[in-house]
Structures are given as structure tokens and as C-alpha cells.
Amino acid sequence: MAESVSRRGFLGSAAAASVVGTVAVAPGRAWADSVPPDRIRLSVNGKAYEIDADPTVTLLDALRERLGLTGTKKGCDRGQCGACTVHVDGRRVVSCLTLAIACAGKKVVTIEGIADGDSLHPVQQAFVDCDGFQCGFCTSGQIMSAVEVVAQGAARSDEEIREAMSGNICRCGAYPNIVDAIKQCRGDH
């Protein structure tokens, strides 16, 4: 084939997943369930999928390798860095310590799912406005955390914001601008 294939496009098309409809997936593997043991049903960003994966596959690997949603990053893979932060049923979690199969019947939202069409989520916009990143590797996790922090509204002072964001490590040290971005968003919620 003469067409050039981008890495992202290739990963995306190679992902072995089928979209089975929108939202409302059946609850996960119950005591006696009809889903074959190597298939997992997931609802991600409002779409229902059925993927080829055994029960050992983490949500992070399911997102990146089966669904081609590579915006969620794998940093430590040990629950320590927050790069893999996504929302499950509205709460931020680390997807590297979450089993995909345990998310059946729940609503997963990733960085790919928070913008409204072409208009960025206010937290995404604030990160752009405030230069809340350098290399960008930690950024999707930072933003998913910040979305919860802004929505909860409990963190007021800079120190409280830093504590509320302490589960997201940034090796580039973009912390001051991340705090600024969160402060900028407060009026939006």
C-alpha cells in the first residue's frame, strides 16, 4: 500500500474491538454469565464495546491496546504516578491497577471523552492557557484529576490544590502552572 500509515492510525485500526451499541451495557461477569471468558464488555466515553481480553487485562491496557485510546498514558504501571488516571463511574482512579473486567457495567471516561466535539473541556483549555505542561506525558492524567478537583470544589488554597493533585507526578515540574490552570477553571463549574 502506497499510503503512509501514521503510528497512531495504525495502532487505532489494529485495535481488536467491536462497538456493540451505545451505553447501557449488561452488568459484568456474574456468577453464571453469557459473555465468553475471553470477551469483556466496556462502556468508554459513552460507547459500548466488547473486546478480546482475558480477566488479567488491566483497564489501562484495554484502553490503549484493545481500543486504541492512547491518550491515557502508562508511566509506572504500579499506581504511583497518576499518568493513567481515568474516571470510572465519575471518580478518578488509576487504570493500571484497575481490572478491565471489573469495569463491566460501569462508565469509563478517558481524556478522549471530555471535550465537547471540537471545543475543549474548560480544564483542557485552562491547561493550554496556563502552559500547564511541558513534555505532556503526565498531562492527560493531570487533566482527568483536575476535572474531579474542580468539580468537587473543595481545594481552595494553592496548598490544598497541590495536595488534591498529589497523585499526579510531573517529571517536568509543571506544577505551578497546573495550580494556575485549576484556579482559572474554578469559575467554570
Binding site: G28, W31, P55, R78, G82, R92, L97, T98, L99, S166
Partner: protein, 290 residues
């Protein structure tokens, strides 16, 4: 990861029917250690649909369902007012994401953070009985200063357990044969010659709830660590009645008066002023008298 079969239990009875299974709550210990192949269960039972929820504050005490999440208990208003040690210990634990995931029952059963334990290429008496303990003469800056043995000097990593032992809390356990309630201080075992046996949980037994008596003395939980947030404790201590954890193989309670480094506030049986006069912290024997 070693493969396993996975089911989600719809009832407590269903969950208890698999004695050889590992229960999945928040998964922040279990999934981590399965990935490292430190834990290799053949069956995993997801218990998150079980009705083990609820935070009940009453004049006589507090009851917390085993599946309540650390984050929810940490911000619970009445818990913060009446059992501030519990909320502080939780708020200082792990990260916000992990606190959203991790359950109270799972927290009490988390495994040690000893790096040798977590590395299956290394010997470790706790992981593989009889293989030896490289930490005794190895990298042991974060290991036990109390309650270790020549077989194992690992510490207990739970902040919450330290607070709960100080508060004289109990846990309710359930298995196929029935229920029992046991003091958390008696639940944990010191490593001794059998560091692989960490507590009194029986195969297939569930923690269903945590029971904390009312507490009317001032409390504080203090955590000493390498960074100001998101770090396991080097040392955790509670005032009021004293308990010391993470520096230790299991959470300890000061037996007579507190140790100066540990009794940070409150009165208990002695006043904070007296604390340390006859300060004594138990060494290797059985502890828990308050």
C-alpha cells in the same frame, strides 16, 4: 500475570462459597501484586456488589462497612469530628485516586511494601517460607524498629490500622460457618518464625465491617515520611492512646505510658506531660494492653 478465573459475587453466601479464592475490593494491593506475580490466585471473586457499605455513627461508636472507600470515610463529617485520627490517617494515605479505589477492608489486609517481598527473584520468608530474609542485612532503612524477628523485619504499611488499633477497634469477620468479632490488635500477628502468616483471617473469610468504640479524648495522627504527601509512612503514631505502626511489624499500642516520639497528644491513662517518664514500648512479645 498468572491467569485466573474471575467472577463477581452477587451475595455474601456466593462469595463465601469459594474458600480458595482471592477477594477483589479496590484491587490496589491485589492487582499490583498479581502483576508482580507475588500473589497468584487461581480464582478471583469481585466482592464490590456485596452490601458491605455504610458509615454509621452512633453515641456508642462507629461502624464502617468493609467496602466503604478510603476517600469517602476520610471526608465523612461526623467521623472527622469524633474520630479525627481515622480521617487524618486516611487523608494522609496513598493518593486521591487510590483513596477513591481502595476499601477499608482491603486497607487492613494490604501487604508490606518491603521491596524484596515485591520482587519474586529475591528470597523472602514472607513470600516463600524458608527462603531467607535479605532485608535483615540489606537495604532496610524503611524496615521495622519494633516487633521484627530474625526471619522478617517487614513493617505493616497501613496508616488506618495504626489509628484503629489506638482506638481499640474491632473487625467483624464472616465465613461459611458464621460470624466473629475480633480486636484489630489481636488480629495482626508479629512475624516471629512464620512471617507468611500475617493475621488471623481464615481461608475464605470476609471482613464485613470495622467497629470503633466512642472516643472522648483528644486525638492526633502523625505521619513521618520522606515527602510531605503521597508517601508511605516511615513512622506513624497516634496520640490519646498510643499506637505505633509502619515502624513496626504490626501496629502497636503503648503498654503503659507513651513513648515521647509517639505520644503526640491527649491523655489516655497518663497525661501527655507524663508520657515518656516511664515510657515503654513493647519489643517482640504480645502487645495491646492500653
Amino acid at each position: 500475570m498468572k491467569t485466573y478465573d474471575f467472577v463477581s459475587a452477587g451475595s455474601i453466601r456466593q462469595a463465601l462459597s469459594r474458600e480458595d479464592a482471592s477477594y477483589l475490593a479496590g484491587g490496589t494491593t491485589l492487582v499490583d501484586l498479581m502483576k508482580l506475580e507475588v500473589m497468584t490466585p487461581a480464582h478471583v471473586v469481585d466482592i464490590n456488589s456485596l452490601p458491605l457499605r455504610g458509615i454509621h455513627c452512633a453515641p456508642q461508636g462507629l461502624r464502617i462497612g468493609a467496602l466503604e472507600r478510603m476517600a469517602d470515610v476520610a471526608v465523612h463529617h461526623e467521623v472527622a469530628q469524633r474520630w479525627s485520627m481515622v480521617s487524618t490517617a486516611l487523608a494522609l494515605s496513598a493518593s486521591p485516586q487510590l483513596r477513591n479505589m481502595a476499601s477499608i477492608g482491603g486497607n487492613l489486609l494490604q501487604r508490606t511494601r518491603c521491596d524484596y517481598f515485591r520482587d519474586v527473584r529475591m528470597p523472602c520468608n514472607k513470600r516463600k517460607p524458608g527462603s531467607g530474609c535479605p532485608a535483615v542485612n540489606g537495604d532496610n532503612r524503611m524496615h521495622a524498629i519494633l516487633g521484627g524477628s530474625s526471619a522478617c523485619v517487614a513493617t505493616h504499611a497501613s496508616d488506618l490500622a495504626v489509628a484503629l488499633v489506638a482506638l481499640d477497634a474491632s473487625i467483624r469477620l464472616q465465613d461459611r460457618h458464621g460470624e466473629r468479632v475480633i480486636k484489630l490488635a489481636d488480629f495482626y500477628r508479629l512475624p516471629g518464625d512464620t512471617p507468611s502468616v500475617e493475621n488471623q483471617l481464615r481461608p475464605g473469610e470476609l471482613i464485613t465491617e470495622v467497629i470503633v468504640p466512642a472516643c472522648d479524648w483528644p486525638q492526633a495522627y502523625v505521619k513521618v515520611r520522606d515527602r510531605t504527601s503521597y508517601e508511605f509512612p516511615g513512622l506513624g503514631g497516634c496520640g490519646g492512646r498510643r499506637a505505633l505502626g509502619r515502624g513496626a511489624g504490626r501496629p502497636h499500642r503503648g503498654r503503659r505510658r507513651g513513648h515521647p516520639a509517639v505520644a503526640v497528644a491527649g491523655r489516655g491513662e497518663g497525661s501527655a506531660g507524663q508520657a515518656g517518664d516511664r515510657g515503654e514500648l513493647p519489643g517482640g512479645g504480645p502487645h495491646g494492653g492500653g
